[in-house]
């Protein structure tokens, strides 16, 4: 392990260090799971308190949850289409909520207070494993959506409108998860790094605007990820009108 060039008592930067947990033969990144559990717990806590008593006149958290539901339904309905969106709303919604809460959690929760023996806590989405996992799930989802709805006619999509498109569409199947995962990963990691570097150089006040910008980017990234996932699924279930 290369030693860090600077070892100041505050705001030291660690990139690419992980807290390894051994699981049989495999190693996993403990810090990612720890922070993702916090995120999931927060999400579930809000959901459970909000849906404990659903009423016709919404009160308290139910309003928030209904707003979120409506928002996610609009995304799913707009990009997947009226016919199939109901099946995919939970998936799109979970992607959005998980990424959004992860990103904001990474930015808002003071993780640095908790000291780990190696690596550091942060947004789960700033780890490439998480984003690739999400992106591959999206790939699986749109393949499954297309195949289950259209059977093998799904592959007509590759030669429409002309067979010349075939190589491009095949390449697209690889670039979609790649771009999804790296966009999210890059944005969130870069945001964390920029904040960390600024905090490292000027610990007071100066990082604040960047932090706000980071919150904005985080929300946008969650929206982009969910929207693109919905769009890909919509593309796969779309029926050409001959």
């Amino acid at each position: 392990m290369a030693p860090l060039p600077l070892a100041l008592p505050f705001a030291a930067l660690e990139v690419g260090h992980h807290l390894y947990w051994q699981l049989g033969h495999y190693k996993i990144h403990g810090q990612v799971f720890l922070s993702s559990w916090v995120v999931i717990a927060a999400l579930l806590a809000v959901v459970v308190t909000g849906t404990r008593r659903l009423e016709r006149d919404p009160r308290g958290i139910q309003n928030l949850l209904e707003f979120l539901w409506d928002y996610l339904r609009d995304i799913a309905r707009e990009y997947i289409g009226e016919k199939a969106y109901r099946d995919w709303l939970p998936f799109i919604g979970t992607l959005f909520l998980f990424i959004f809460v992860s990103n904001w959690g990474g930015a808002l929760i003071p993780w640095k207070v908790i000291h780990l023996p190696n690596g550091e806590l942060g947004a789960p989405t700033s780890d490439i494993n998480t984003t690739i996992a999400l992106a591959l799930l999206v790939s699986l989802a749109y393949f499954y959506a297309g195949l289950s709805r259209k059977g093998f006619r799904y592959f007509e999509y590759y030669v429409e409108p002309t067979p010349i498109m075939l190589p491009f569409k095949i390449v697209e199947d690889f670039t979609k998860p790649l771009s999804l995962s790296f966009r999210l990963f890059g944005n969130i990691l870069a945001d964390e790094l920029v904040v960390a570097v600024l905090a490292f150089l000027v610990p007071l006040v100066v990082p604040l605007p960047v932090m706000f910008l980071g919150l904005f980017t985080s929300a946008i990234q969650a929206l982009i990820f969910a929207t693109l996932a919905a769009y890909y699924i919509g593309e796969a279930v779309h029926e050409e009108h001959h």
Partner: protein
């Protein structure tokens, strides 16, 4: 900054077997599994109940709206009906008033005619009675006068 990233990467690739930014391991499938499980949990706890609540409300609002519209239409129909009835009743009332006025007028005229006829008849009979009595009285007077005249003549003639 770059140097740290490079160092981190260099550390990952050259030196030790672990670490680095692009360190893919069993975190990936486990995270995917975790997200899938989260999807099912959220579907059960969030998307389905909230969706049901929202759609129930939408249905409730739609049915209430249609019901309200139906009731409004019914009320309007009733109102028109009642207006029609009211108009008819007014016409009826006017007719009744008119006929009653005519009736009373007629009755008045009849009563007046009867009374006038009675008055005329009684005046006539009274005049006739008066005339008869006057004639009677006159004849009496004439008779008395005649008698008196005879008496005077009788008295005066023997005396002379």
């Amino acid at each position: 900054m770059t140097s740290w990233l490079l160092l981190a990467e260099a550390g990952a690739t050259a030196g030790s077997p672990e670490g680095g930014l692009f360190d893919l391991d069993a975190t990936l499938p486990l995270m995917a599994l975790q997200v899938v499980i989260l999807t099912f949990i959220l579907n059960r706890l969030f998307f389905r109940p909230v969706g049901r609540a929202v759609e129930d409300r939408e249905g409730y609002i739609t049915t209430s709206r249609t019901q309200a519209k139906e009731k409004l239409a019914q009320a309007e129909r009733l109102e028109a009906d009642l207006r029609e009835q009211l108009k008819e009743a007014r016409l009826e009332a006017q007719k009744v008033i008119l006929s009653a006025e005519q009736d009373s007028d007629r009755l008045y005229r009849e009563a007046l005619a009867v009374a006038q006829a009675e008055a005329i008849a009684s005046r006539e009979s009274a005049r006739r009675t008066i005339d008869a009595q006057r004639a009677d009285a006159l004849s009496h007077l004439q008779a008395d006068a005649d008698r008196l005249a005879d008496l005077i003549v009788d008295r005066l003639l023997p005396a002379s």
